[in-house]
């Protein structure tokens, strides 16, 4: 009789502060998690250490665990860190003569890209980010292609050779190549690449037409340069990691998480696509849970130490960003649409010009909030949470950090209480929490309402360290009816990594006015799909696991903003394209009001895209038997005084031990549930229940 081999699906996400592991026994659905502090100088070792820490839980050793891994998915911040700290490869850039400054000019907006309105208003404090390639290493070569793809001036090949000579002398590590209109006719970029590859072996080479064949040279070039900037780092890191893991027993392929919310095999990973992949994995995890629970519309929220992130899943699908701004650089890579503001547990509260303000400055990990006792004197949101009794000073991060309430009070009193609240430290702390929750609710409303959605139609998921602690406030302010704190809230990205599909997003700009020729459009899609299928095949994806979906970015002529409209597969007809235009106009009017459409301007099809998925085997989360709702009493840990805004006072509040919560338990607010890495807060007039996957589902008590 054949003995079924025991296997695990493993996700390891290395974040800035913690390395998280999520693992599931493929057969029994048993879950294992671990959380360890990240050591930035020892990332590869961190992956192994995480495996080592989780292995005993499953009765394994690190080696046997890796040997039994059916797949290992890894999320890394190596590229994000490189971009945020502008520490990456030394890049040389070859571009069309006359346009070498485009990447320095940053279309003017680079000075304020991604900044809030208030930050933009302080002209003096704004700067462009340091360039990812120094001006001296931008080499211009004469060549010109026009808007129709016609070569107007031939490539001066000797100038390419000169550029390579300089790059070698300057010890350039990565070469980016970007010329005007290359997405329409890549002949010159291809030839430049040929010359560079031949005469400069060993250099990492990246071309704009391969990476981002989209109209708009600044963003296309910036993406290409960013890819070169992080390329050698990511390449070396992944090579070494693969080697280390293989040496330690890993037999299955290593997959890497991408900002698109998909994974790619390590050797197939486009470096720039890994930037900010962690937040995307959280959204995928939210979507996975939602599917499991039969929920179609989800607002996924992540409260970290410095930022609050929001994503919308509508009718079972998330949307992609057309442009991705990281450290003021605009990148055109496939990325899950995640909006963020600079408010998190570590955000500093201050009074400026008589106004109570939260963030965007953050106390970070060092010195951290005042209550950490590491010398921080500025009050943070976490300090307010401690003062108000939400966070147990002895249970922060599973008791790893002991918090000092007196220091929190001192900071809040000095910086906020004395200035605005007549010395009342509780009122000040409550004010900090309330303003913070409202700012987060405003972002939720902005993300949903601006897309034409009513937040009332959504269920909210809250994860990240401080999400469960604040969800009762921000979700009800946003008029959400029900919020879910996943059992896996503190390792959500690692969990998401395991459930991600292989994903490639292929697209090409080819602007053409409607009505477009159905044969031409079909041709564009078929060509793109052939490429996608080849890629998936080469990664071992079987035909039955493949899914392809097509879309078109459309606009009224001369607009810049575009809407993404899906279109069916196969041979397209005139009627299909007419229907596409109708659906564009319908969505436009939904978003901007009934009189806003203006067909007289003409409709244009700008970019054609194909999302290609290799569906991975779906894991099955364990289901737990239901216990009596009233048995929740057995999980009570004690009582403590907690301040409740709605009561305007402290009230004795039941504290539950999260680890003792069982499926089926129900309880009423006010209540506190202490888990290992986080604390769930349930307000008065809210109710909560534990579902069969041990997620905490909070009824917000919002009137219908």
């Amino acid at each position: 009789m054949e003995v079924k081999q025991l296997t695990y699906s493993v996700g390891i996400d290395i974040g800035g502060t913690f390395t998280d592991l999520f693992m599931i026994d493929d057969e029994t659905g048993k879950l294992f998690v671990s959380k360890t502090p990240t050591t930035p100088s020892m990332l590869k070792e961190g992956v192994l250490a995480a495996a080592g820490l989780a292995a005993p839980q499953a009765g394994e050793k690190a080696r046997s665990l890796l040997e039994k891994a059916s797949k290992l998915v890894h999320g890394t911040t190596v590229s994000s860190n490189a971009i945020f700290m502008t520490k990456g490869a030394k890049v040389g850039f070859i571009t069309t003569a006359g346009f070498g400054d485009q990447i320095m000019i940053m279309r003017g907006y680079g000075r304020v890209a991604g900044l809030s309105l208030l930050e933009r208003r302080h002209f003096r404090k704004t700067d462009k980010p340091p360039p990812l390639v120094s001006r001296e290493n931008i080499m211009e070569v004469h060549e010109r292609i026009d808007r129709d793809g016609k070569v107007l001036a031939n490539l001066e090949e000797k100038e390419v050779m000169e550029a390579v000579r300089r790059f070698k002398a300057e010890r350039i590590e990565a070469v980016a190549i970007g010329t005007l209109w290359s997405f329409r006719n890549p002949v010159n970029e291809k030839r430049i690449k040929e010359i560079v590859t031949k005469s400069f072996p060993g250099a990492f080479v990246s071309t704009s037409h391969e990476l981002s064949p989209l109209i708009g040279e600044y963003e296309r070039f910036q993406t290409t340069v960013a890819n070169a900037f992080v390329g050698p780092l990511i390449r070396d890191y992944l090579d070494e990691l693969s080697e280390t893991l293989t040496k330690n027993g890993l037999k299955s392929p290593l997959f890497i998480l991408q900002a698109s919310g998909g994974v790619a095999p390590a050797e197939d990973t486009i470096p720039v696509n890994t930037i900010e992949s962690g937040p995307a994995a959280g959204v995928i995890a939210a979507k996975f849970l939602a599917d499991l629970m039969g929920i179609r519309n989800v607002i996924a929220t992540d409260v970290g130490g410095t930022t609050f992130k929001v994503s919308i899943i509508y009718d079972g699908a998330w949307s992609y960003l057309r442009e991705f701004i990281v450290n003021q650089y605009s990148l055109r890579v496939p990325a899950v649409d995640v909006s963020s503001i600079g408010t998190g547990g570590g955000s500093i509260a201050s009074v400026r010009l008589g106004r109570l303000r939260i963030g965007p400055e953050s106390a970070g990990a060092d010195p951290g909030p005042a209550c950490y006792g590491r010398g921080g004197t500025k009050p943070t949101v976490t300090d307010a949470d401690v003062i108000l009794g939400y966070v147990n000073p002895d249970n922060f991060l599973g008791g790893r950090i002991k918090l000092n309430r007196a220091l929190a009070e001192k900071a809040v009193k000095a910086e906020v209480g004395d200035v605005l609240f007549g010395g009342n430290v509780v009122k000040a702390a409550a004010g900090i929490r309330y303003v913070m929750d409202n700012m987060m609710a405003d972002l939720i409303r902005k993300c949903s309402i601006q897309r034409g959605y009513d937040p009332k139609e959504f269920v909210l998921m809250a994860y990240g360290g401080a999400g469960p602690t604040h969800v009762s406030g921000y979700a009800s302010e946003a008029e959400i009816r029900e919020a879910i704190v996943p059992e896996l809230a503190t390792v959500f990205s690692a969990f998401g990594a395991v459930v991600c599909d292989i994903h490639h997003s292929l697209k090409i700009s080819d602007p053409r006015p409607a009505p477009a020729d159905p044969d031409v459009v079909s041709g564009i899609f078929e060509q793109t799909e052939t490429k996608a299928v080849e890629k998936l095949h080469s990664e071992g994806v079987l035909d039955e696991q493949m899914a392809l979906s097509r879309w078109v970015d459309m606009r009224y002529r001369r607009q810049v903003h575009q809407l993404t409209i899906p279109i069916g597969n196969g041979k397209l007809t005139t009627e299909d394209l007419a229907d596409l235009v109708r659906r564009f106009e319908a969505q436009y009017q939904t978003l901007y009001g009934k009189d806003s459409a203006y067909a007289e301007a003409g409709v244009e099809l700008v970019t054609f895209g194909v999302d290609a998925y290799g569906r991975t085997k779906k894991i099955a989360l364990p289901k737990y038997p239901r216990s009596e709702a009233g048995q929740v009493r057995s999980a009570v840990k004690g009582k403590r005084d907690v301040y409740w805004m709605k009561l305007d006072s402290f009230a004795p509040t039941t504290v539950y031990d999260g680890t003792r919560m069982k499926a089926g338990y129900e309880f009423e607010g006010p209540a506190i549930v202490e888990h290992l890495g986080t604390t769930i807060v349930v307000d008065p007039d809210q109710r909560a229940r534990i579902d069969e996957h041990l997620n905490t589902v909070i009824d917000m008590g919002v009137s219908r």
Binding site: K128, I215, G354, V435, A601
Partner: protein, 715 residues
Amino acid sequence: MSKIDPVTYEIILHKLMQVAEEMQINYQRTSGSSLVVDSNDANVSVMLPNGDLVIVGPYMITQGNVIPFMVRAALERCKDNPGISEGDTFMCNDPYIGATHQADSGTFSPVFYEGKLRAWVGASGHQADIGGTDPGGFSMQAADVHQEGIRMPPTKLVEKDVLRHDIFSWILNSVRDPIVGLDIKAQLAANNVGRKRLVALFEKYGADLVTQVMEESLVKTRDEFAKRLEELPDGEWWGRQYIDHDGRSPKIYQVVCKMTKKGDRLSFDFSKSSPQANTFINCSYSGLVAGLLTPVYILLCPDMVWNQGILQQVEINAPEGTVCNCTYPAPCSMATLSGILMVALASFECVSKMLNWSEKRREETMGLWMAPTVAPLHGGVNQHGYSFSMAECSHFAGGGGARIYRDGVNTAGFVNTTTPNIPNIETTEQEYPILYFFRKHVTDSGGPGMYRGGATGETCYAVYGAPEGGIETGWASTGCEVPNVMGIAGGMPGSTVRLIRFPKGYFTRLLSERKMFPSSLEEMRAKGKVLPQKHKRTFFTNGSILYHCWEGGGGYGDPIEREPALVLQDVRDGLVSPKAANEIYGVVLNGDRSTFGRTETAKKRLDIRKRRVKTTFKPSAVLRSARDDLPNTLFLEDGQVKCPCGFTFGSGREGYKRRAKVEVASLNKAGRVRGELYGRGRFELRIYYCPRCARQLEVEVARKGDMVLDDRIVQ
């Protein structure tokens, strides 16, 4: 009025600001005017029932500031006939009522709640066309405002939520580019969302409370602004700007601003400005206010809510009939590129100079920022067969002003927008019959200084593939003969505008050779013709080539005190020429420009100092005072003006210039691209030095014989 608790106040205010931001996002997304979508030449605002500004949106500062004027006019004129009701939207573009110029038209809607007028929301933006004699809204030859296109007083465009097709089609009938229709609808989309969100706020928090927050935000801003003014030195500062061409001839007009600050009041006096022109360079009163508020906002109030509260501390004296407060029916379609910007820059100079005397807020001082004083305008039929009119907007990325501790940002944007944006080359080529040769930074364009002004840009393109054989082209610019973007504290002005046309035959030759398209002005192998500042539209056939550059940012401090390593890097980056490095910055580079000679540089800089004061120079005086708390600029101590070298200029009440050494020099003393192609010898630089250490203290740009800008600092 009872005081609202600070938490509620903050929460509702945040939501009001988000209303404005969302309005602007809707506007941008649905507009089709390249000036709006690619260049952000638009803004929105939220106002009280009486039109008082509460929140101004994220983009063009000047545009957001004029909507209150339009609302007040509607309240006066439309109340009884045609009436102001729920669901109405008005449109207005009359510069004598509120618009900056006719091309910037505004639409605005009253917001009613439970039958009561509670607020107004509005959007203003640059239309692709507005009729008149020339495409794009700038009517070069107009003799009066009637020739500058439609001029709408507050006009009811939407009545009880129904778009009035008679008005809408009348507007479309009067303009050249049908995209105006899309743009008007975009403004409606912005106002609709503003109304909806405000009503939701009224519902949630109660209309009275929201109104109270709006009113209190004005009071708070007024009080904070008053307090800030209290902290700044009292005195009188002068700023001056020249308009070097009026559309018909290179006649000079000046906008002179005297700013007086006393206690918590700030007053601006423009009475020494030139009489109004009989051409389109003037600006009306609303434009003047919008212009002078720009530097007040960004230099004095960057951390406050920008609203009507600020104006309550400000007095304005601008006699009617001047170039910066023209009277009907003077033409003013170019106000946004001349009158208004000159007001903004002249007042910027005053405010920035005042800050530089303040120990507490000196950090906020900046050299002047570039203002968009150039606009090549094109119209005709594009390669797709559509008629169009557009402005080439690369110049919306100009030089930022130097700070007292860091260089100005290169191609940073411009003074009157918080969110600059220029189109991609490819996007413009895709939509319009144009082919670019280059778009790049201009060497030596940033105003020299201890900290350099931001570099600006230049571009060059050919008319390419226009189906009618060419396109209509006109242009309007200021600042070709004389720089507008001044330096502060001895920093020098940034570069000037240039317009050059190259013959069509050159392009034909390039196309037939199929190689080496020129990638810089130096590579152009044809003789160019320098174009006048302003020109009425003419037909540019396919192959005609137009070059232009715009203005660089103003510097801060004495250029010979700039860190030599920074000068070296600038040379390597192509931002400063070796010649300027040597002559202006006094940095001696070695042959391959990989390094500089430290001793040679020190000696060179000493020589420059000697030449400045033309006396035997005592090196000891050059040594910086042992006190390291001193700024790199003149400062005030017990009412006395002092140089860090120890020299005392006497009481600030008498100004300091009479005791400074002055050198009169040509504009090119600040570098190349300082008006030499347009030079008529009418302007000079007046450079003031400390008589003891020869520090460069201030650089004035003046028409020969014009008054000295003699600031007085009281303490």
